[in-house]
Point group: none
DNA sequence: CATGAATGAGACTTCATTCAT
DNA sequence: GATGAATGAAGTCTCATTCAT
């Protein structure tokens, strides 16, 4: 692989260290060393540590959303689309467990608070895909008549829970199990 | 409200501050001030900050488990038992949102790591109730033939997700909605 | 043994703990516990920790001086008197190694500084015995014509050094060796 | 005097403060101020305070040993060698009274305990010079037939005691007196 | 008299950030 | 542009001393 530029090296190092050790275990000096740059250099690319962390979150979230949209077609039947999204999400997170850890760390941190406030303001943002899916499902009476956020919870709550078990080594998620789980989620939301 | 003893004042203060601001925002000095005691006093009741945090977790977890077991009867039909547990859990967390926040903070922290290791060793512990429920359901062919941890994920993942939305103010969980959600979870796990 | 009064219990406890663990390892709370009294009680017998430590030093020094004076007779020949004092000193310290440790701790501490200043002012005090011995020896030309403090150093420096080795377990000081050592000290000071 | 590098400034400051006020009176903040650096800077050069103190001891001991070995020749007669070592030691300590104070502080401290254990294991180490001297003296029947540690005590005990008096201002050690004292020590150990 | 819970000053140490090189 | 030595605010914890019981 080609060597990344400094900015990306820093982001990569930060992600790995924070994902593995949490924010507690990720002083700037450690991130700098892992990235192979001087500590001061980080401040040439990011105004301060907070900015680095928030920026990193955006990148990770972006990649994740891009991944699940790959091969997605709004033309296909509702259930098929749901299965696609759920499966893609789970597969991507399993393939990139550090991303999942990072996202979780982020949500449970002062930084996450800012995110939540942001989300409250501009509700939809990147969740459009799911939003559209669920709204359509309700209109076409394929899904239960429940508020959107409940559908989100029913659909993704189990996946997040499973990912935790997976990372802790409790669970082994093979393709068969992934399929079964997503189907079960569908059972939860379908009418 | 009657004034608590010092130990409980400290635990209460710690819980509120950590739940609201995270571990970052909860230095001993701040906890002490909120509890109305000197900083040194905390160390008369807890060997160090870690111990305080772990102890607090145990208390919170204990109360939560006690709450959901109240009125629970192993004699009732499977579905009814499931609805009871899910509803009780959700209601208790809604009534004590700070407990939920604290538990979440705890799980995503170095302290949580210890917990996870413990859980891996003595799996069952207090989850016996759920374990028994799911195992029975599988044997009697009422529930899907899936590993236990998947049932856990399908049943509680959505509830946790909902609680987050609730705390952030996205969701308003009234009794009707609670009932619908737990039913939907049941749909997810039932055969 | 009859149970001591509280004051003595406190002094005894302080002595043992400080001798064994140094001033670092001797908080008031620990001394109180070992003495079987409340921490506050110590302050009824001693104004503060410094006073306790200084008082304790005086007691220990007093006992030591008393011990070496026992059986001492100013009538006997010079060498015999010297052998008596040296031997008595060494024997007493070997029998009470904690006393020796305590004295050493004390000398190397802020408290010791005060002592040294005091000594500078009222030179002689309890050293009269030795002073008289050495002065006489010089006058009668049995001892080298050297300042008194040199005689002190030549006579007791080796004993202190030996005690250290003894306490650390390097040395085993039996009666034969004690006799030889004191004789050697005499060789050092005698003309 | 040329300005030292930061590490040496720190060691120098620590030495002076500890020698004069003991470990009690030498918090990191005070050492830092005297060294003209920030408190945090000390931790760039020494892992923690213990390491600083131990390192400092090694340096002081090293210089002391180097000083007494200068001009020493194993070819010369036994007595001459002894006089050389004793005189050099006393002169060096008189010229560097703080070194002596520091060494004494160190020996009577938790740090010293570690040293003592080490010494017990690898007895000889840097004392080889003296050891060889005493052993030879015994073999050639110039010295008394006594255990090595007794010779150490007889030879150096008086010097240490004298240094104490000197530092306290009791004693004035000029060249004549130094010579007389070392000779007297020789009388103590010679057959 | 005796107690020991409570206190808070002060010790050690970490780490985000700056800035001279 | 890049570096990393230096900084000092802030965090955890200890312990001599007080005082209500």
């Amino acid at each position: 692989m080609k060597s990344l530029n400094k900015r990306d090296e820093i982001l990569k190092a930060a992600m790995e260290i924070i994902a593995e050790r949490g924010f507690h275990g990720a002083p700037i000096a450690v991130i700098a060393e892992k990235a192979g740059v001087g500590a001061g250099t980080i401040y040439r690319y990011f105004e301060n540590k907070d900015v680095l962390i928030i920026e990193l979150y955006r990148e990770v979230e972006g990649k994740l959303l891009a991944a699940i949209q790959e091969g997605y077609s709004a033309e296909k039947p509702l259930k098929e689309r749901f299965l696609h999204l759920g499966t893609a999400l789970l597969r991507y997170l399993i393939a990139h467990p550090l991303y999942f850890r990072y996202i979780e760390q982020y949500h449970n941190s002062p930084y996450g608070a800012r995110l939540r406030r942001d989300k409250m303001l501009k509700q939809a943002d990147n969740h459009d895909l799911f939003k559209e899916l669920f709204e359509q499902g309700i209109v076409f009476q394929e899904l239960k008549e429940l508020p959107l956020f409940v559908h989100f919870a029913l659909a993704f709550g189990p996946l997040i829970a499973l990912m935790r078990d997976h990372i802790l080594g409790f669970a082994v998620l093979d393709d068969t199990l992934i399929k079964q789980v997503i189907e079960a989620c569908w059972d939860g939301i379908k009418r």
